[in-house]
C-alpha cells in the first residue's frame, strides 16, 4: 500500500481524522442529550416526559460515538490512551458514574413503580450533570497539558461550568426544534440564558489555549496563518448574532417558523470550536508530549481497521440518518406499540 506514500505517515493522520470526527459527533449528539438532562429539573412532570421522549430513540446511538472515540484512541494510539486516561483517572471515573446513572435512569423512570419516578428523574439529572462536569474538567486539564497545578485545576473547573452551559444551550435549542407550545416557550428562555454561557465558554477557550503553550500561540498569531484562520472567529461571532436574533424572533413569533435555526446554528458553533481546538493541538495527541506519529499502532493493524471503517462508516451514517428521519418532527409520547 504505497498508493498515498508512506503509510506510517498518512495512517496516523487518517486516524486522527476519524478520532476527531467521532469526538465531534459525540459532543454534538450526546451534548444535546446531556443538555436535556441538565435542564430537566426546570420543567414540570408532563414536560419532563416530553423532554425525555425527544431524545428517547437517539441517546443510545449518540453515546456510541463516545465508545468509538475512546475505542479509536485505544486501538490507533494505545500509548496516548494509557497516558491520557491514567492522568484523567478521577474525572473519567466521575464521567462513567454519570453515564451509568443517566443511562439506567432513562429506563428505570418509566418501568419502576410510579412513586419512584421522581427519584429516577433526579438520577437522570444528576447523571447528566456529572457527565458534563467531568467532560469539562477533562477538556480543561487536556488543554493545560494534563499537568495538575492549582491554576490548571481552577481553569478546568471553569471549563466544567462552561461545558455544562454549552450542553444546556444545545439541549435547549434541540427542545425548541422538537417541542411545541409551553415547553417550547420555556426552551426559548433557557436557550437565551444558555447563549451567554456558550459565548463565555467559547471566549475562555479561545483566550486560554494560545497561552497554554508558545507553540499554539505561534500557530495562531503568525502570518499567513492569522489571515487564513480569520474566518473562524468571524463566523463564530456571526453565528452568535444569528442565534441571538433567531431566539428573539422565535420568542415573539406566532407560528414559530424557523424553529430549526437555533439548533443548526448551535451545531455549527460546536463544529467551529472543535476545529479551532483540533488545529491548536495537531499533531500532538498528548499536548506537547506525544504526537500522533509517536503514539500510533503498527501500520498493518491500522490498515485493517481503516478498511473496516471505510466500509462500515457510511452504513452507520446511513442508518443513523434513517433513524433521525423516522423520528423527525415534534416529539410524541414514547410508546412500545
Amino acid at each position: 500500500m504505497t498508493l498515498f506514500g508512506d503509510p506510517a505517515i498518512w495512517l496516523p493522520v487518517a486516524f486522527a481524522g476519524i478520532l476527531g470526527v467521532s469526538i465531534l459527533l459525540y459532543v454534538i449528539l450526546d451534548g444535546f442529550d446531556l443538555g436535556v438532562g441538565i435542564l430537566l429539573p426546570l420543567a414540570d412532570d408532563a414536560e419532563k416526559d416530553r423532554m425525555i421522549a425527544s431524545i428517547g430513540p437517539f441517546w443510545d446511538a449518540n453515546e456510541t460515538w463516545l465508545v468509538l472515540g475512546v475505542g479509536i484512541l485505544l486501538v490507533a494510539f494505545p500509548t496516548a490512551h494509557g497516558v491520557i486516561l491514567t492522568a484523567l483517572y478521577l474525572p473519567v471515573a466521575v464521567m462513567l458514574v454519570g453515564l451509568i446513572l443517566r443511562g439506567v435512569a432513562f429506563e428505570f423512570r418509566i418501568k419502576a413503580p410510579l412513586e419512584r419516578k421522581s427519584i429516577w428523574n433526579w438520577t437522570f439529572f444528576a447523571g447528566s450533570l456529572m457527565t458534563a462536569l467531568a467532560q469539562g474538567l477533562m477538556l480543561g486539564l487536556y488543554i493545560m497539558g494534563l499537568e495538575i497545578t492549582l491554576i490548571n485545576v481552577a481553569f478546568a473547573l471553569l471549563m466544567a461550568l462552561c461545558v455544562v452551559g454549552g450542553y444546556a444551550f444545545i439541549g435547549a435549542t434541540w427542545l425548541i426544534l422538537k417541542t411545541e407550545e409551553a415547553l417550547q416557550t420555556k426552551a426559548l428562555i433557557w436557550a437565551r440564558f444558555g447563549l451567554f454561557g456558550a459565548a463565555f465558554g467559547l471566549a475562555a477557550v479561545s483566550l486560554a489555549t494560545p497561552f497554554a503553550s508558545d507553540r499554539i500561540f505561534d500557530k495562531w498569531f503568525s502570518m499567513p496563518a492569522f489571515v487564513a484562520l480569520a474566518p473562524l472567529p468571524i463566523v463564530s461571532t456571526g453565528l452568535l448574532v444569528v442565534l441571538w436574533l433567531s431566539l428573539r424572533h422565535l420568542s415573539v413569533s406566532e407560528n414559530r417558523a424557523g424553529d430549526w435555526v437555533p439548533f443548526t446554528a448551535a451545531v455549527a458553533l460546536f463544529v467551529i470550536a472543535f476545529v479551532g481546538l483540533a488545529y491548536s493541538f495537531y499533531p500532538y495527541i498528548v499536548p506537547e508530549k506525544l504526537t500522533i506519529y509517536d503514539a500510533a499502532s503498527a501500520p498493518e493493524s491500522l490498515m485493517i481497521i481503516l478498511v473496516g471503517t471505510l466500509v462500515v462508516m457510511p452504513v452507520i451514517l446511513g442508518y443513523t440518518a434513517l433513524s433521525y428521519v423516522i423520528f423527525r418532527g415534534k416529539a410524541t409520547e414514547l410508546r412500545y406499540d
Partner: protein
Amino acid sequence: MEELVLARIQFAANISFHILFPTITIGLGWVLLFFKLRYGASGDERWIEAYRFWVKVFALSFALGVVSGITMSFQFGTNWPGYMEKVGNIAGPLLAYEVLTAFFLEAVFIGIMLFGASRVSNWLHTVATFCVAFGTTMSAFWIIVLNSWMHTPVGFELRDGVAHATDWWAIVFNPSMPYRLTHMLMASGLTVAFLIAGLSALRLLMGDRSDSPRLALKVGVYLAAVLIPLQIYAGDLHGLNTLEHQPQKIAAMEANWETRSNVPLLLFAIPDQAQRKNHFEIGVPNGASLILKHRGDGVVPGLNDYVSADGKPLHPPVAAVFWSFRVMVGVGMLMLLVSWFAAWSLRGAGAAAISPWLLRGLVAMTFSGWVATLAGWYTTEIGRQPWLVQGVLTTAEAVGPVSAPLILSTLIVYLIIYAVLAVSYIAVLVHLSRKAAEGSGGGPATGLAAVTD
C-alpha cells in the same frame, strides 16, 4: 502489589456486573424476533403480548449492558495500560470491529425497535428487531474472539517486545474460539430460557389470567430442555480443548497436584496451595481420567509441573478455579433436572394444570443462568492467571500507575452503584410482572386458584 490486587478486583467487579446483561440480551433478542415472527405467522395475540412484555425487559437489560460496557472500554486504559502497549496491535482491530459492526447496529436499531412500531411498516420493524439481535450476537462474536486469543494466542510475532499480527485468519479463528463462542451463546440461551420460564411462572403465581405467560413459560422450558444437553456436550468439548492448550487450568479445575493416571473426579475438596495438597477429598474413582482421557487409567496433568525453579507457582490459584467450576457444573445439572422435569410435566395436559410447586421451582431458577455464567467465566479467567495473555503477558506486567487509594475509592463507588442497580433491576422485573398480572384481571388474591383450577 496492592495496586495490582485492587485493579483486578475493580476490573472483575465491573466485568462481572457487565456480563449479566449481555448474557440476557444476546439470547432475548432472538426470542423477541421469534415472538414477533410467530405473531406474524399465526395472528395469535398471545405472541404479541409476550413480545410487549419481554421487550421491556430487553430495553432495561440493554441499557444496563451499554452503560456498564462503556465503563469497560475506559478501564482497559485506566487499569491495564500495559495490555494495549503489548498486544494492542491485535486487540485493537478486534475491539474496533466490535464497535463498528455491532455497537452502532444495535444502538441505532433499538431506537426503532422500541419506539418505532407506530412510525414504520411492520417489515421494517421486524428488520430492526433482527438487526438488534444480530448486533448483540456480533458483539459477542468479536469479544469472544479477543478473549479466546488471550487464552490461545496464535497468528502473531513479537518484535521489540510488541505483538504484531501475521495472520488475521488464525487470530480470529484461534484454537479455543469456536468452543468458547458456542459455550457462551448457549449459556446466553439458557439464561434467557430460565429467565422467561421463571418470570412467567411468577406472573402465574401472582394470578395472571392471560394466556400469554403460559405460552412464554412453555417456550422457556422447552428452550432450556433442548439447550442444556447440548450445552453439557459443548462444555465437555471445551474442556478437552482447554486440556490441550492450557493443561494447568484443567489441573486447577480438578485440583490435581501430581501428573498421574487414575485421577478421581473430586466432588468435594479443600485445595490447600500452601501445602500443595487437598483436604477432605471425596471423589469418584478414575472419574477425571475418564472425562478428560476417556479411559480410567488416562494420565491427567498435575499442578506441580507448573512451578518455577525458585518455587513460584506458574499455575492459577487452585481453590477459586476448583470451586467456580463445581458451581457451574452443579447449576448445569440442576438446570437439566428442572427443565426436563418441567417439560415432562407440561406435555399434552395443557398449561392449565401446572403444579404450583413446579412454578415455585421455576421461579427459584429464574437467575440460575447468571450464576452458572459467572462461575464459568471465573473458571476460565482465573484459570488463565498469572497470565493476562497466555505465555505472552502477565497480569502484573500490564497494571497501570494509578495509586491504590484512588482505585479503592472509585471501586467502592462502583460497588455501591452496582449493588443498587442490581437490586433495582430485579425489583423492576418483579414490578413489571405484578403490573402485567394485575392488568390481566387477576391479582395476588386469586393467585393459586387461577393456577390450579
